[in-house]
């Protein structure tokens, strides 16, 4: 029975993919050309050295949640310790093995996978929006181009699972997709309450929790403390404590009080997010809950506000903004007003990338860039901060203006 179901699902997927490719042949050829040009010449050096080390260690069967001190390279990978949930690990180890076998640079293999997931996201977007224009809007968006095929972040996989979860919102399968996205990266965690409160049933919650626990269990059994430190404590920024600690620092509080304050901040964030999710549920129930557009509207708003609770402001870097961009593109199919947030999100992410991420992480590897890169790291920091803050404000304004306009029109 299960075998037949899997076979049907796979056949359906391949047929859908074939149809998608034949329908968007020109766009995809252009996308492949862009990938062929951009993938080999750019990668995020520090991050990709880390991915490489971790991919190598995983393929050697080592527990990457323990600091292994593999070698003293002056980069993030210097201890070989992974700082996220485990679902990206098979992708890195697969990329490591393939790159060794076919003698291609690791980042090229890894980013080709990212590009493929990008195409899958575009395919799902088209299915959900029932509009073919979303494909180009997504694939050729500068923000998506830099965060995926240039920087090579795998956040796009988290987004893919979130999209699938949204598509099957009231079904148990959404629990599986949310479970998978939560096992990828902590950025998906603030979105969990949204799906939980819209699926208040034991079966959904059990399914979700079982998947998450099953994914983490082998690593927790190997070294519980190391996993907790690497996934939760080390990456506090991913769950939101760290940006708030800047405020705590300004308040000149020291000693154990800081830890208590951090716990208070984290608890407050959790409470606010749950309250937000409950409010969204109430709003959705009072409106037409079968209206998919309404769900996406509320999801986007939930994403925006919850990420603001968690990060103080949504970090204006491409791989964070892409979480907001995807539902924005979906909504553009029904509400043309969402073109404003689309434009401001893209530009904000792109500017901050070129001024901060691109410079700081040495994305391009040419001598001509060496000067501006290092100049950028230290001397543009304040400028990047000011520009990023101003653009973020414009971005927020564009979102709330759009929501105001759309909802006002709906009530008329």
């Amino acid at each position: 029975m299960k075998k037949a179901y899997c076979k049907t699902a796979l056949t359906k997927f391949f047929n859908d993919f074939k149809d998608f490719v034949s329908l968007h042949r020109k766009i995809l050829i252009l996308y492949v050309i862009l990938c062929v040009i951009l993938i080999p010449i750019s990668w995020q050096q520090d991050v990709y050295d880390w991915y490489f080390v971790v991919g190598k260690l995983v393929s050697e069967g080592k527990n990457v949640y323990e600091p292994l001190n593999v070698q003293a390279i002056i980069k993030r990978g210097d201890t070989g310790q992974w700082g996220y949930p485990p679902l990206f690990l098979p992708l890195f180890s697969f990329s490591y093995i393939v790159s060794a076998v076919i003698n291609l640079p690791f980042h090229v293999v890894c980013k080709s996978l990212v590009a493929f997931v990008n195409v899958l996201v575009a395919m799902e977007l088209e299915k959900i929006a029932k509009s073919s224009r979303v494909v180009a809007l997504y694939l050729f968006n500068p923000l998506i181009l830099v965060s995926t095929i240039m920087q090579g972040f795998f956040d796009v996989l988290v987004i893919f699972f979130i999209l699938l979860a949204l598509k099957s919102l009231n079904k148990t399968s959404s629990a599986a997709y949310m479970g998978l996205s939560s096992l990828c990266k902590q950025t998906a965690w603030p979105l969990i309450p949204f799906f939980v409160v819209l699926n208040l049933n034991i079966k959904w919650f059990f399914f979700f929790l079982s998947l998450v626990v099953a994914g983490l269990l082998p690593f927790l059994m190997l070294n519980f403390q190391a996993v907790m430190e690497a996934v939760v404590i080390q990456h506090q920024a991913r769950i939101g404590i760290s940006p708030w600690s800047t405020i705590v620092k300004f308040a000149s509080i020291s000693g154990p009080l800081i830890q208590w304050l951090n716990i208070c901040v984290a608890t407050t964030q959790l409470v606010l997010i749950v309250l937000l999710a409950v409010t969204v549920r109430g709003k959705l129930k009072s409106s037409n809950s079968l209206d998919k557009t309404k769900i996406f509207e509320y999801f986007l708003l939930y994403e925006l506000v919850s990420l603001t609770f968690v990060y103080l402001v949504v970090p204006p870097v491409p791989h964070f903004l892409s979480y907001l961009l995807v539902p924005t593109i979906l909504l553009m199919a029904t509400h043309p007003e969402f073109k404003y947030p689309y434009i401001f999100l893209s530009i904000t992410g792109y500017v901050v990338f070129t001024m901060d991420q691109g410079l700081r992480h040495t994305v391009f590897h040419y001598n001509v860039w060496a000067g501006p890169i290092y100049l950028g790291y230290y001397h543009l920091e304040l400028l990047v901060w000011i520009v990023g803050a101003c653009l973020s404000l414009i971005m927020y304004t564009s979102f709330f203006f759009t929501f105001y306009k759309v909802w006002r029109r709906d009530t008329q």
Partner: protein, 259 residues
Amino acid sequence: MKDKMPLVSVILIAIILSLSELYVFLGLPIHVVRNGSFDEGLNYWNAEMIEGEELVNVSLGDGSNQHPSENFHCPLTLSRINMTWPPHNYIWVKMYQLLPEHTLVESSALKFRMMITKTDFERLSSESDAMMIYVGFMISRGLEKKFLVYAWVLFETRLTRITVDTFNELAFWRIVRLEKSEQRLSENFEITSTTSIWKDLEHQEDWVDGDWKIGHERAEGIEVGIMLWNVETPDFSWRLNVYLDHLDITYYWLDNLMP
């Protein structure tokens, strides 16, 4: 076409921004080179943290504000480094000084002497995996720049090995010499070294003879740095004081100054 307007406008804005940013960046005079780390206008030793953020303080003792003398003899004492719960497992402190313009000649030499007390050395080696001290010279020939590094590895572990490849990613770096100490912990740690820079450079595989210069106008000079790997952080109040006594660098660029 109307459907494609948002995408077209976003792509156009991105292209215009890229071009204008590129124009601005490339048009700016590049005074600062990270990892070569010299700053125009500074003619005294300056301390800088690369990794470890503001939690690590460096204060310079005697000799900290000495202007480079005419004979290029610059004694320096790095008196103290305080470290409180470094957020990184890699710490890099360095000091640098601009120098008057001078051409690298055959007699150019480096004399380096440094001592760490036994107590500090014991603690450093027990609380971190590896430690290195280096002296670097930023030199240039036309538009080409190189940062020549003499490095001494004080200690390392089997898993944290410091090699020339460790510094592959650092811009302009050229490790001229990497010496590893085998000194035991039973006494104060000392390094005394005198070497001919010219001869060391001649041994480099791809070295090109030419008019290599250090020059204040091009923001070039000498740098002393300390790197610590994988510092253990037992608790939030962890603190480490390092006292480097008698850190003394003398370097010569003229024939008649060679001892």
